[in-house]
Symmetry: C2
Subunit: 410 residues, 2 copies
Amino acid sequence: MPIVVQKYGGSSVADPSRIKAVADRVEAARRAGNDVVVVVSAMGKTTDELISLAADISANPPPREMDMLLTAGERISMALLAMALEVRDIPAVSYTGSQAGILTDSAHGGAKIKEITGHRVRDSLAEGKVVIVAGFQGVDPDSKEVTTLGRGGSDATAVALAASLGADACEIYTDVDGVFTADPRIVTEARKLAEISFDEMLEMSASGAGVLMSRSVEFGRRFHIPIHVRSSMNDQEGTWVKETTMEQAIISGIAHDRSEAKVSVNRLPDRPGVAASVFTPLAEADVNVDMIVQNVSHDGTTDISFTVPRAQVSEAERIAKEVAAQVGAESVDVDLGVGKVSLVGAGMKSHPGIAAKAFSALAASDINIEMISTSTIRISCVVRSEHVERAVQALHDAFDPPMIVEEVGA
Amino acid sequence: MPIVVQKYGGSSVADPSRIKAVADRVEAARRAGNDVVVVVSAMGKTTDELISLAADISANPPPREMDMLLTAGERISMALLAMALEVRDIPAVSYTGSQAGILTDSAHGGAKIKEITGHRVRDSLAEGKVVIVAGFQGVDPDSKEVTTLGRGGSDATAVALAASLGADACEIYTDVDGVFTADPRIVTEARKLAEISFDEMLEMSASGAGVLMSRSVEFGRRFHIPIHVRSSMNDQEGTWVKETTMEQAIISGIAHDRSEAKVSVNRLPDRPGVAASVFTPLAEADVNVDMIVQNVSHDGTTDISFTVPRAQVSEAERIAKEVAAQVGAESVDVDLGVGKVSLVGAGMKSHPGIAAKAFSALAASDINIEMISTSTIRISCVVRSEHVERAVQALHDAFDPPMIVEEVGA
């Protein structure tokens, strides 16, 4: 029988009635002739509540105990879903990450999946059961300690399980209808994409599209598992994230991100090694640098700007100031008022002029561009935070994604 | 170093501030030169809340999944306590029942502890850590399924762990100051007992004293582990439950129980085997029969009355009616309006006249006795439910427990 792996996020299992709705959907997949493996997150805000309890007790809780605490969340939702299936006379069994053989490294709070053994999962499927697996968690086989996978961990569990079980696809159920050409809360004309390539989805995720974390997309790409992102609230098809798409879009969508800040190191001496002197200590401190721009030097000095997650901006500022003092730079500025707008499309690499058209569209809307960074299939611009929505709308108007190759005339 | 096992119930870990108070107490035990093992229940009403979530989903949830669900509770409290200890720079580690090697049989929801391996507990103690163990839970080593121990399970975990680790004693922290001569909510003069024997405590627990479940007392008696029942709200000494007590009390205390109902089978043919015909099917249906009274036969018939937990009364009535029809009894009555009052004391076996004095005290308070049952160290009377409080007070007045042997003059 074909195996389907379905993943339901916290909002899809937020209360008993939602859990029953998930059970209905699992029943339908089973009726359609599939073996079904379900990966669940913790119910609703459970994880946040547990984090807040821990914060009441310790400003810096030991990561090992934090993982012990947080893994209680999926344990609750998975057992309740098993009960809801048994009520429908569907044999079901729930397994923790450890029981399902999700083997990880030892990095508590952000462990990486190394291997999935999955003996119990396969045995239970062979017995005709629906298998429910706790998302977000695993076990370090050396220390036998329970680990969690960090942000986006449940999606990663689902895609990795789908790969290890030889499933045809992984369905990610969420509270939106799929991947859109832009955030529908900003652009009312935004359209749901029927499909998008792994490469494009990776760029969208990295550029702020929250619907899928990069991590699970990388798993899908590496193990050739198509991912179907769809809503748990209706029966519509969502968006298929897959190897290649039928029609290659020049522009698939526009993503935006307001979670970063900009740090500028001004008037650095313009000599070899100066960029390394800035970014080596940042990397050593695990500061997650995103965009980097170094402008042309005029007077023997140069300016380097980069963006980092806001949560890391004080750390980044501290390090940048140390470096500035060491190498004789003039000053360090921090700017929390920035946002990033990105245009993503696999077809843009064979279509010159996309960047120019994007910059013109932003200019026509009186939006100043502060930083630019590009990959072969993405163009990102840093603008004022308050201009982000207008920028997304302007780019959507200009390109009307998904903008298919065949349609390009001008 | 001496090992102390401490157990904290749900009310003692109900919120972060209570958990911090537990950490203070653990710190003190460690400062006093002990290796400390802590057994915790789920926080406050967590278990009830999880049961209620399950009830919203299924009228009859699979016991295996119910255990998966409920074991999330202790996981939360144990991780939070470990965090609270680390804040005090006390190295600590939390283990689930499975990780601690609490091996049980396969009876989900009411598993029995078969063995405690406890390798990780011992290793962590050897590393100088406080070890926190989830109460109420274990693992069936054959199926590798997680189990729960049922009512009183956390106390049983603590006493069994104390036995397996060779601890000097097991401290059970609760929300009352110890074991009292009667319920202080009924008898204002009720006194806290400094000590009580295992045998007496077993009779008290079986007679309705809720402070300790029979199960953990049996463990203590079997493995010679003194149990110190005390309050987590203050530093007073509580009650020591132990092998033999220094002064043997004639009457240690008065327990009461309003959780049972009485079933009477009237005018049974008085012939050999008639009692067996009633109680064999009840035993086969797992109905938990407590007191049994068969009165004298006058006219070739006899009446048999027995008490059962109210939760099982419909089942008991159904079976009794079947038996009555088979053997030709006249009728079956069910009485929900009963209560039981018990006088417990190891010294009563060598002091005749206790029963007579008790019956007189009840008579003087105009309380009619409906059933009587005695063991060597207990006298129990079934009375009208509304007379229970008066009966407890009357017996306490008459015997003024703890009534020590030396004081007995009259």
